[in-house]
Amino acid sequence: MYVPHTFIECKYGPELVVTCTFRSSPVAGSNRVFNTPLSEQGIVGFGIGLATQGSTAIAEIQFADYIHPAFDQVVNEAAKYRYRSASHYHCGPLTVRAPYGAVGHGGHYHSQSVEGFYAHVPGIKVVIPRGPSQAKGLLLASIRDQNPVFFFEPKWLYQAAGERHTQLASLCTCMQSLSLSAGSDVTVLGYGSQIQILRQACEMAQSELGVSCELIDLRTILPWDEDTVIQSVCKTGRLVVSHEAPLTAGFGAELAATVQAECFNHLEAPIQRVCGWDTPFPLIFEPFYIPNKVRCFDAIRTVVDY
């Protein structure tokens, strides 16, 4: 993924091992693409300062699992910067990128989904692309956005063979959700790497049960596009939400609570959440832990049969 240097002022992080960042360094120059000392709290704090000064700051955290030392800077600083200064100061030009999610062998500390923690703090935005084209368009939109954006990239995408992406001009740079398939029987809602799994589950539901699914990619977790989702569930009457993050207090809980309040009279079945279990991400048990296609398919079957 090559991002034109005119949109980047500074890209930095503790470990710029990712190929995309390596390649951009000769173009942008080492004063604009650089390594920092190894401290996530430092990286995010530094980024807030750089952005407040007016520079576009793109910080990279090696894995979302390692972003936690920066939590204070995110919650107490980035999220409140504009509000506490009545917009006299803000750190809008800050974007923080981090790979997240299961990768097959990541275990506790290379598989985490952290969007649930960051969705809970007003003042920042949280964006999650499902594939390479989306990643490019959404990242550009995130960089241009005048609010600090936390951009979580599905880790497995770095190993994916590729995806032909369309011209820059036609990429959607807005951060609303996107319906990927029109359907009439059930709304299936997710984001990031889980979209691939949900697509397969929807195909299974179509072929084995003749069920027509409307698959929606949320794309932005905070603030999230309620209207598209509510409109869809009012039409279908059924909702299956899925994410890798653990079930309890996961982002799916926010989605389910909002939909039941707004679509109560239209619901034909209880909302299903298909998520990771409430344990640390276990390496050898990953195939049993993740919300795989059969678990998602089973949830679709449950709401349809209800």
Binding site: P37, G42, D65, G107, H108, P280, F285, P287
Partner: protein
Amino acid sequence: MAAGAARLVGRLGLLVGRRARNYGRMGYSDSAPSRGPEYTTDLAEATVSLTSKQPLPVYRVLSAGGEMLDPSQDPGLPGETVVRMYEKMVGLCQVDQQLYKAQRMGLISFYMTSYGEEATHFGSAAALHEKDMVYAQYREPGVLLWRGFSLDQMVDQCFNNRHDLAHGRQMPVHYGSPEHYFQFISSPLATQMPQAPGYAHGLKQAGSDNCVIVYFGDGAAQEGDAHAAMNFAATLKCPVIFFCRNNGYAISTPVEENYKGDGLAQRALGYGMEGYRVDGNDVLAVYNVTKKARELVVDEGAPVLIEAMTYRLGSHSTSDDQTGYQDMSEVKDWRERYFPRDRLRGYLQSQGLWDQEKEDELVSVTNETIRSAIKRARAEKKPSLEHMFTDVYDVPPLRLRRQKEEVQAMVAKYPEHFPTASHE
């Protein structure tokens, strides 16, 4: 409260020109009476300057080839102890090679070698007592091997089979062993560091004469947790040895991009503790320094920092490729001149404790042990599915018990979609 009131009085004293008391704000020693600050009109005297500051020298005992440089520094260890250091070092070198290959062959998912840093493990471990608690980063398995953790146990953990003490939950090389007083590894850098003085404080309160050692790298040393750890340890007087493996790289970040000062050892002064800089590839020097550090830590109940200068000969892990950023001629140079295994063998040979026949025998036996460990570990079942849900808490909450039933029902309903056959 009294201290706060006293500080206020002190400030007032400064305002009216009287000599202010110190109240522990300055100075290094608990025992030296506080005379109060020295005032000066010469700014140069009140300056901490970098000009003409030389890097702290590096303590060593053996030459690059393994000759004893100064007999007064010979630790005088029994021959069989030094031979054991070598045998364990060879074990580590060989298991590193074989498990690295196993990852490349797809038998295990991940591996990290300790290539080039073996002396930091065995030199330090040999100077500790067996019940001194160890907090490690992830590149210190030699400490476990020294204490008696077997090559088979290492292999079982890396294969995530049913013999792994932690039921296959973590990535390979995330060892731990209560029997060997070794805390379980976690991947995030430096998170173990503030925990070590906490544990040490508890030991001290309990009247133990054991201490704690915490290992970390030059990269981890830049984390906020590292600062908190050293400051807490010194301020609260905790019997902990901070052992930094300065191997030159944090994945692809060279030390020049991680800090500007003279490495780690001199930071000890800033925190109010003693610091040592040692040649990390000289196992006997590492032994001497750790032994001295331990005596000080246990006698005074206060921390010490050791910075072991070494070099990472391999890539960070199997997910990394050092050729992308490391100067391979620099790697070659360190390998040829300062490889700990060769250096120790040189010493043993010079003492008449080792020869080629012993070498061939050891390599052959060790390789066979590891090969059969791998063969056995591969064939073993993975841990039972019930272990996905145990140990989250001491007692599983109701919701978790229900989730376990849900998984079991899902597996029964769609058996072809779950790899149950490979689990116990």
